[in-house]
């Protein structure tokens, strides 16, 4: 997996009729899916440990697929945040950052409508659905103690 990543697969972020795909390829960052898998968005800073391979998460259904994309984008946004804090004048990187933020918002909206809230402030539903979510440490949903 380490040497078989999908670094060049930007189809998810391809915008028809724009050269965004080429633009990101030259960039100092890897794609959100590769970055999330590695835990590192910076192309030149990735240092694997011994001969361990990083692990690709496999989504089992539509809900997981959508959540994985949101997690990948949220992760990319975090690393851009750290980078842009120190390079606020890098307009090229800021442009990519904005694309991810917009895409992430759109997907979060889609997820929230289809599957319920990801954040306490996602209040599309008529009733309080926050507790129904499985939490990261749960395997059977978040309503065990309520």
């Amino acid at each position: 997996m380490l040497f078989n990543n999908n670094d060049l697969d930007f189809s998810f972020f391809e915008i028809p009729g724009s050269d965004f795909k080429l633009e990101i390829d030259r960039n100092k960052f890897v794609s959100p899916s590769t970055g999330f898998q590695r835990g590192n968005m910076m192309r030149d800073e990735y240092i694997p440990y011994k001969n361990y391979n990083d692990v690709k998460l496999i989504a089992k259904n539509e809900q997981e697929r959508l959540r994985l994309k949101i997690m990948e984008l949220a992760f990319a946004i975090t690393d851009f945040n750290l980078y842009l804090d120190l390079h606020p004048d890098d307009t090229e990187s800021y442009k990519i950052f904005k694309q991810y933020v917009d895409e992430g918002k759109k997907l979060e909206q889609e997820y929230t409508t289809k599957f319920g809230p990801l954040a306490i402030t996602n209040v599309q539903s008529q009733k309080y659905e926050w507790l129904k979510n499985p939490w990261p440490w749960d395997e059977s949903g978040g309503n065990l103690y309520v």
Binding site: G39, Y52, W137
Partner: protein, 135 residues
């Protein structure tokens, strides 16, 4: 950016998230263990005090404390301290990786180790930034 505390704040937030991930791993590993199994793993004392609750302590049982967080108020000294903390965390993650063969534990540990590398590099850039400013 100039003299902004933002990079520090972002980094603190990231560290809190790492604690949540480790706490989740410990919870998932222990939740179905019997008392006998915990005892066999050398966790009898832990169980006595905390049952299966998550109590933050180091590998030798020393509880988490901020006593050892060093803040001098000297910006270069403090960022060097942060850089060292990232390196120490990376080294401990590598020990944990060496100690396990559980794939579900390995994957997040490899990921968290990589975060320390990224955080170290950002702190290093911040150090250079302040250095250039004449601190």
């Amino acid at each position: 950016m100039e003299n902004s505390p933002q990079p520090f704040v972002t980094s603190l937030k990231n560290s809190a998230c790492q604690m949540k991930m480790i706490a989740t791993i410990v919870h998932q590993l222990t939740k179905d263990a019997t008392v006998e199994e915990l005892e066999a793993c050398g966790l009898a004392s832990y169980f006595t005090e905390h049952k299966k609750g998550i109590y933050p302590s180091d590998a030798l049982g020393n509880p988490f404390t901020v006593t050892y967080f060093s803040v001098t108020g000297d910006i270069l000294a403090d960022i060097s301290e942060d850089m060292a903390a990232e390196q120490k965390a990376r080294a401990v993650y590598e020990s944990l990786i060496d100690l396990t063969d559980d794939e579900d534990v390995l994957a997040p540990l490899l990921w968290l180790r990589q975060r320390e590398i990224v955080h170290f590099n950002r702190f290093k850039e911040l150090y250079e930034h302040y250095k250039k400013m004449g601190y």
